[in-house]
C-alpha cells in the first residue's frame, strides 16, 4: 500500500495555491460532490493547464478557487495567494483579490465585455473606481498602452465598442481588461475555444508572451490537450472531479502514465495521418452522484484490477513533478497497438450527385459565399474547411435547400434545388440529408428520440416504421431502449448519433455533416468519427463534411475545399491539401494548429491590428 505522496509544502513564492478543494451541490435533495479534494498551484511566471472533458470539474474548480460560483454550491478548501493564506475561497474572502491579484478571462469574449462601454472605458473602469476621479486624459493614454501590450496597435480601438471587433480582438481586450489591475495571476477559462484556429494561435502566443514579460502566473483551463502541451509548463488532468495526473506539459503527449490521459491523447485525431480507426475510451464520464466507488475511471479502464474497483487510489509520485492517481502507477501502460493508417482512397468515379456552379450568396453588401463551384460524387467524402465567416455553412445549407443562392446554381441529382417542384424536391430530399452541429438543439426536446427518427422514416415511404427505426438505431450503435427517451436524457454523443440516424432515415446518398463533432469532447468525437467512417463503408454514403478542425477533416475526408471569406482558395485530395498545401492561407491554417513539437510559433500572415469588422 503506497502512502499518498506528500504534496510538497507550498513555498512562499507560489503565486496561487489551492489545496483540498471540494465543491458540493444539492442534487435531488442529496449533497453531491462535484469536485473532490483538488489541489493545484502555480509559480510566478509559470503556465499551468487544467485539462479535462465535460464533467471533469475543471471550470468549477477554478471558479471555486476564485469565489465565482453561485451561492447554491458549497465550497471547502484552502486558498493561498503569494504565500498569504486566504482561507476558504468564497465570495467574501476573494472579492478584494479580483483584479488586483487574480485576473480572470472567460470563454466567450462577446458576453464578457460590457457592450455599452467602449473598450477604453472598459479598460479604465478600474482606474476610475479606485481613485474616484472621473476619466482624465491620462487614462485614455493608459488604455492605448494596454491595448498595445496585447497586440492591438490601432489606437482607434479605444473608442470602439466590443461588437465592432472580431472575436480575436475582443479576447485581447478582455485579456487587457483582466490585466489592468496588474494581477499576479491570470486565470483563463477556455479562452480560445470560441475562436478560430488562427485567432487561437495568436491569443495563445499573446498569453505566453505576457507571462514571460510580466512574470505572470498563468492558469489555463482547456479541453484541448495540444493547447495545454504547447504552451504550459505543467498540466493537471482532471476526471470526474478529481485530479488524476500532474506532469510536465512537454511530455503530456507521449509520456502520460494514467490510463485516462493516455486514452485521451490517443483519441485526439492526428493532423499528419489518417487512421483507419481512432482509438477510443469505452463508456462515458460518470456524473456527480453516480461516480463509482474505488477508482473513478475503473469502469472504463483497460488495465483495471480488483483493487481499482474497491479502493480509490491516491496520487502517487512517479518521478520529479509527475504524479498519477492510479494503483498501477509505475507498471507502465500496455503498449498501444500502432494505429493503422488508412489507405488513401482512389479517386471517386461515381456519378456526380451534387454540383454547385458559381453559387453565390449575398446579404445586402455582405458576401457570404462568392461563386463556389464544388462537386460531390457518389461514395466520396468531401470536406469543406474554413474558419467562421468563410461561408462553409452557407454552402452546406444551400446544398440541402435551406438557403437559396442569390446567383448561380445548386444541383442535386441533376435537379436545380432553387426552382424544384414538389416532386423534384422529394428526389432532392431522398438524395441529400443533413446532420447539424449542436447536439442540444438538433432534436425536438418535447419528443422521444424514437419518434423523431420515426417521423423521418415515415417520410421515406417505408412500410415498417418501427422496424426501420430500430434498424437505424442499431446502425448508429444505440439499442432499442433509446427510442422512448427524451433528448435531455441523452449525452451529447448519443444525441449526435440520433441526429445521424435521423439523417439516414431517408436513405440519402449524400450526408452533409455540419460541424457534427465540434461540440463534442475528444473521446466522444473519436467515437462519432469512427461511426461516420463505418457508415460510409457499410452504406456507400458520400459525405459533405463541414469543419474548422483540420485534424478531423484528415480523418474523415478524401478531398478538401478550403474556404476563406466566401471563396474557395484551394482544393485537392486531403493528403495534398494538408501535407503539401499550395495557398498561403492553407499554410497559415496548418501552422496555427497548436503543435507542441514546435519551439516557437511562426508569425502568421493575418494582421493583429486593424482587424475590426466595422468598415470605415
Amino acid at each position: 500500500m503506497r502512502a499518498e505522496a506528500t504534496i510538497p509544502t507550498v513555498s512562499s513564492t507560489a503565486a496561487l495555491a489551492v489545496r483540498d478543494l471540494t465543491v458540493r451541490a444539492r442534487k435531488a435533495g442529496d449533497l453531491v460532490e462535484i469536485v473532490d479534494g483538488v489541489a493545484f498551484e502555480v509559480m510566478p511566471g509559470e503556465a499551468v493547464a487544467i485539462v479535462g472533458e465535460s464533467g471533469s470539474g475543471k471550470s468549477v474548480s477554478v471558479r471555486a478557487a476564485l469565489g465565482l460560483l453561485p451561492g447554491e454550491l458549497t465550497v471547502a478548501g484552502e486558498l493561498e495567494v503569494a504565500g498569504r493564506q486566504i482561507g476558504t475561497p468564497g465570495r467574501r474572502g476573494t472579492q478584494p483579490l479580483h483584479g488586483a491579484e487574480i485576473g480572470f478571462v472567460m470563454q466567450d469574449p462577446f458576453t464578457m465585455l460590457n457592450p455599452s462601454l467602449t473598450c477604453g472605458q472598459i479598460l479604465t473602469a478600474r482606474l476610475r473606481d479606485q481613485r474616484g476621479a472621473k476619466k482624465g486624459r491620462g487614462y485614455r493614454q493608459r488604455a492605448i498602452e494596454w491595448l498595445a501590450e496585447v497586440g492591438i496597435a490601432d489606437a482607434h480601438v479605444v473608442d470602439q465598442y466590443p461588437f465592432e471587433l472580431s472575436g480575436g480582438m475582443r479576447q485581447r481586450v478582455a485579456i487587457a481588461a483582466a490585466l489592468s489591475g496588474q494581477p499576479r495571476v491570470l486565470v483563463a477559462d477556455e479562452p480560445t475555444t470560441a475562436l478560430d484556429v488562427t485567432s487561437q494561435a495568436q491569443i495563445l502566443d499573446l498569453l505566453d508572451g505576457l507571462r514571460r514579460s510580466r512574470r505572470l502566473a498563468l492558469v489555463l483551463v482547456t479541453h484541448d490537450l495540444r493547447v495545454a502541451a504547447s504552451i504550459c509548463d505543467r498540466v493537471y488532468v482532471m476526471y470526474a472531479g478529481k485530479v488524476v495526473e500532474e506532469m510536465h506539459g512537454a511530455r503530456l503527449l507521449n509520456a502520460a502514465a494514467h490510463p485516462y490521459t493516455a486514452g485521451l491523447v490517443a483519441a485526439d485525431p492526428p493532423l499528419e495521418q489518417r487512421l483507419l480507426r481512432l482509438p477510443t475510451i469505452v463508456g462515458a464520464v460518470p456524473s456527480p452522484g453516480e461516480r463509482p466507488a474505488g477508482c473513478r475511471f475503473a469502469p472504463r479502464c483497460e488495465i483495471a484490477v480488483d483493487i481499482c474497483r474497491e479502493k480509490e487510489p491516491p496520487l502517487i509520485a512517479l518521478g520529479r513533478d509527475h504524479r498519477t492517481r492510479c494503483h498501477r502507477a509505475g507498471e507502465g501502460l500496455p503498449g498501444r497497438p500502432v494505429p493503422v493508417s488508412a489507405t488513401p482512397a482512389a479517386a471517386a468515379e461515381g456519378a456526380v450527385l451534387v454540383r454547385t456552379h458559381e453559387a453565390r450568396r449575398v446579404y445586402g453588401h455582405k458576401v457570404a459565399l462568392a461563386a463556389a463551384s464544388v462537386e460531390i460524387r457518389a461514395g466520396e467524402s468531401v470536406g469543406i474547411v474554413g474558419e467562421s465567416g468563410s461561408g462553409k455553412s452557407t454552402l452546406a445549407r444551400m446544398i440541402v435547400g435551406l438557403e437559396h443562392p442569390t446567383s448561380g446554381r445548386v444541383d442535386v441529382a441533376g435537379i436545380d434545388v432553387h426552382g424544384a417542384s414538389r416532386r423534384e424536391m422529394e428526389t432532392v430530399r431522398a438524395t441529400v440529408q443533413m446532420a447539424f452541429q449542436d447536439p442540444s438543439s438538433t432534436l425536438n426536446p418535447f419528443r422521444a428520440v424514437g419518434s423523431t427518427i420515426a417521423e423521418a422514416v415515415a417520410l421515406s415511404g417505408s412500410d415498417d416504421i418501427r422496424g426501420r427505426t430500430r434498424e437505424l438505431l442499431d446502425l448508429v450503435g444505440l439499442n432499442a431502449t433509446y427510442a422512448p427517451r427524451r433528448p435531455r436524457q441523452l449525452s451529447g454523443g448519443e444525441r449526435q448519433r440520433i441526429a445521424i440516424a435521423r439523417a439516414l432515415a431517408r436513405n440519402p446518398r449524400v450526408m452533409v455533416c455540419d460541424e457534427v463533432v465540434s461540440a463534442l469532447d475528444v473521446s466522444v468525437q473519436a467515437h462519432i468519427l469512427n461511426l461516420l467512417n463505418e457508415l460510409r463503408d457499410k452504406l456507400g454514403l458520400a459525405y459533405v463534411f463541414i469543419t474548422h478542425d483540420l485534424a478531423v477533416a484528415r480523418q474523415v475526408t478524401d478531398r478538401l475545399y478550403v474556404l476563406r471569406s466566401g471563396e474557395i482558395v484551394e482544393t485537392g485530395t486531403t493528403d495534398q491539401v494538408l501535407s503539401h498545401p499550395n495557398h498561403p492561407y492553407t499554410r497559415d491554417l496548418l501552422a496555427s494548429v497548436p503543435d507542441p513539437e514546435r519551439t516557437s510559433t511562426p508569425t502568421l500572415a493575418g494582421p493583429a491590428e486593424g482587424e475590426s469588422t466595422c468598415p470605415r
Binding site: V400, G401, L402, M425, E426, R429, A430, Q433, M434, F436, Q437, D438, S440, S441, T442, L443, N444, P445, F446, T452, E455, A456, L459, A499, R502, A503, A505, R506
Partner: protein
Amino acid sequence: MPISIGLAAVILGAVALVAVFPGLAPHNPGTIDSTSSLAGPSGSHLLGTDQLGRDVFSRVIAGARTAVLGPLILTIATTTIATVLALVAGYFKGWADVVISRAVDVVYSVPATVVAIVIVGVTGGGWWLALSVLTVFSLPVNVRFLRAAVLSRAELPYIEAARTSGLSEWRIVLRHLLPAISPFVVTAFFLRFTYGIVDLSSLSFLGLGVPPGSSDWGRMIAENRSLLAINAWTTIAPALALVAVAVSTNTIGDWLHARWDLKDKTK
C-alpha cells in the same frame, strides 16, 4: 409551490365551481323580497341584501358565471386567433408577415377601451358584440408576443432538420413549432384572461353589454354604488370577487412564466 399560488388556485377553483354549479348559492339571486331590503349581514343573508331584497352573497355567486364565462370565451378566441396569426407571420414571413404585422399595428394604435365603449354604446349591442370588439382589440399584444416567440424558435436546428427531412411546412408548424411555443401560449392565455375580466367588467360597469339587473359583477358595482353607506357589501362584495379572480389568474400566469423561464428551453 408558494402559498400565493395555492391560494390563487383555491380561489379559481371555487369560482370555477360556482360558475358551473350556480345552484350552490344559498338563495335564488333573482328573488325579490321587499320586506328585507337593504338588510345587513345576518345568518340567512351572509352579506345582507340589496335594494330589492335580493341576497348579495347569492348574487355574487351567480355573477361568477358571467364573470368567468365571458373572459373565457374572449381569451380562447383571442389566444387561438393570435396563435394562428403569429405562426403564419413568424414562420412563413414574407408578405403574410408584413400584412399581419401592419394590421396589428393599426389596431394597436387605436384606444381600445374608448372605441369599445363607443361601438357597444352606439349600437346598443349586447354581450356578444362586446366580446367580439374586445377580441379584436386584444389581438395586437398577443400577436406580437407570440410572433416573437415563434421567431425565436423557428430557426432552431430541429425545425430546420424537420424541413430538411421533407416534412411539409404545415406539419412542421403543428408538430414542432406549436409545442415549442406552447409555454408562451399558456402564459399568454392566463394573462389575457386577467385583462379579459377587467375589460368586460368595465364595459358592464358602464352599463354596456349586459341587461340591467343581471347579476354581473361589474353591473352590480355600478348599480349599488349609491348604497355604499347603507350596505357596503352590495358594492364591495362583487368588487372583491373581481379583484380576487383577476389577481389569481395573474399570479398563476406569472408563476407559469417564471417557472418555464421562457428563454431557451432547448438546453
